[in-house]
Amino acid sequence: MPQISQILETYASQFFWLLIVFGLIYFTIGHGMLPKIEASMDARDRKIADDLAAAERARAEADNLGDSGAADLTAARNEAQAKSSAAKAKAAKDADARLAKADAEVSIKVAAAEAALSKATAKALAGIEAVAADAAADIVAKVSGAKVTPAQAATAVKAVMSHG
C-alpha cells in the first residue's frame, strides 16, 4: 500500500502542496468568491421579499378603495331613496290640500245653489197657492154662486195643500 509504505518519503511534499492548495482555496475562493455569490443570493432574496411586500401593499390599497367605493354607492342610493320618498310625501300632501280646498269651494257653491233652489221653490209654492186660491174662488162662484173672499179661499187652499 503506497499510502503507508511511501509515507516517510512523501509526507513533506503532500503537506506542503496541500497547504498551498487548500490555503488558496480557503482564502481566494472561500473568502473571496463565496461571499460575492452569497451576497447576490441575498440581494435576490431581498428583492423578491420587497416586491412581494409591495404587491401586498398594493392589494390592500385596492381592497380599501373597493370598500370605500361600495360605501359611497350605498350612501348615494340611500340618499336618493330618501329624496324620492320625501318628494312623494310632499306631492301627496299637496294633492290632499288642493283636494280639500276644492272640496270646500264646491260645498260652498252647492250650499248656495241649494239655498237658491229652496228660495225658488218657496216662491213657486207661494205663487201656486195664490193661483190655486184664485182658481178655487172662481170655481166656487161658478159652481155655487156663493161669493168667497180671497182670504177664505187662500186658507182653504193652504189647508188642503198642507194635508195633501
Binding site: 503506497p2 512523501t10 482555496i25 468568491m33
Partner: protein, 261 residues
C-alpha cells in the same frame, strides 16, 4: 500496468511519483503527481466558481449550480449550528468542495491517454489527516476561544448522574479525541477501497480478454465488465457521500464548539 508482464497491480494507482524535484529547508517537497492533481482540483474549483460569478438577478444554469452548492453548505451550517454557523461557511465549503472535486478527479477517465493515469488525492492518509486536523483544530480553537476552560464541560453532558461522573467524561473525552482519526480514516479507506475494487475488476476484464482459452472472456470478462459499470456508478455516489459526510461532521463538531451541546 506496473509490475511484470500481464500483471495488474491494483495498488499502483496510489503510487506517488515526483514530477519535479524540489527541496526546501532539507525537506523533499517535490512536485508530484499528487501535487498536480491538487492543482487540477484547485483549477476546476476556481473555474466552477468563476462561472457562477455573473451575479445576475435571474441566474443562468451555471450560476444556479454554483448557488445551489453554496446554498447547500450554507443550509447545512445554519441547520446544525444556527445563525452563528454563517462564519464557518468558507471553511466547510472549502473542505467540501476540495474533497468532492478531488474524489471526482480520481474517477476521471484520464487513463484512455496512454501513460496517464488519474490520481485520487483523497485516497492518501497524509491528505485526509491534514484535512481532519484542519477540521478538528478549528473545533478546538473555536471552543477554547469562545468558552475558555468552560469548553471542558462538553465532556459532562447534561443530566449525567453523579455516580457516573467518573466514567462519562472519560468516554466523552475519548469519543472527542477519536474524531480526527475517524474523519481521516473514513475518507481514506472509502476512496482507497473503492479504487482498489475498480482496479481489481478492471484486471479481471483485461486478463480475461488476454486469456488463451476462448470461454474465459465470456465467463469472466463480460460479467466483470457489467459489474464494473455498476461499481463505477456506486463509486461516484460514494465520492459525493464521503465529501458530504466530512462536511456534515465538521459542521456538527463546530456546533459542539459553538453551542456546547
Amino acid at each position: 500496468m506496473a509490475g511484470e508482464s500481464g500483471k495488474i497491480d491494483p495498488m499502483y494507482q496510489f503510487q506517488i511519483e515526483p514530477l519535479a524535484q524540489l527541496d526546501i529547508a532539507g525537506y523533499d517537497v517535490s512536485f508530484t503527481n499528487s501535487s498536480l492533481f491538487m492543482i487540477l482540483v484547485l483549477g476546476a474549483l476556481w473555474l466552477f466558481m468563476w462561472g457562477g460569478m455573473k451575479r445576475d438577478l435571474v441566474p443562468g444554469r451555471w450560476q444556479m449550480a454554483v448557488e445551489g452548492v453554496t446554498g447547500f453548505v450554507n443550509n447545512m451550517l445554519t441547520s446544525s449550528v444556527g445563525p452563528e454557523g454563517k462564519k464557518y461557511v468558507p471553511l466547510v465549503f472549502s473542505l467540501f468542495m476540495f474533497i468532492l472535486i478531488a474524489n471526482f478527479m480520481g474517477m476521471m477517465p484520464f487513463g484512455i491517454v496512454p501513460g496517464v493515469h488519474p490520481f485520487t488525492v483523497t485516497s492518501h492518509l497524509t491528505i485526509t489527516a491534514v484535512l481532519a486536523v484542519i477540521s478538528f483544530g478549528t473545533v478546538l480553537i473555536v471552543g477554547f476561544w469562545k468558552h475558555g476552560l468552560h469548553f471542558f464541560s462538553l465532556f459532562v453532558p447534561h443530566g449525567t448522574p453523579w455516580w457516573l461522573l467518573w466514567l462519562i467524561p472519560l468516554i466523552e473525552l475519548f469519543s472527542f479525541l477519536i474524531r480526527p482519526f475517524s474523519l481521516a480514516l473514513r475518507l481514506f479507506v472509502a476512496m482507497t477501497a473503492g479504487h482498489v475494487l475498480m482496479k481489481v475488476l478492471a484486471g479481471f476484464v483485461i486478463n480475461g480478454l488476454n486469456a488463451e482459452a476462448a470461454w474465459v472472456p465470456l465467463v469472466v470478462s463480460i460479467p466483470s465488465f457489467i459489474l464494473m459499470i455498476g461499481i463505477t456508478l456506486l463509486e461516484l455516489l460514494v465520492c459525493a457521500i464521503q465529501a458530504y459526510v466530512f462536511a456534515l461532521l465538521t459542521s456538527l463538531y463546530i456546533n459542539d464548539a459553538v453551542n456546547l451541546h
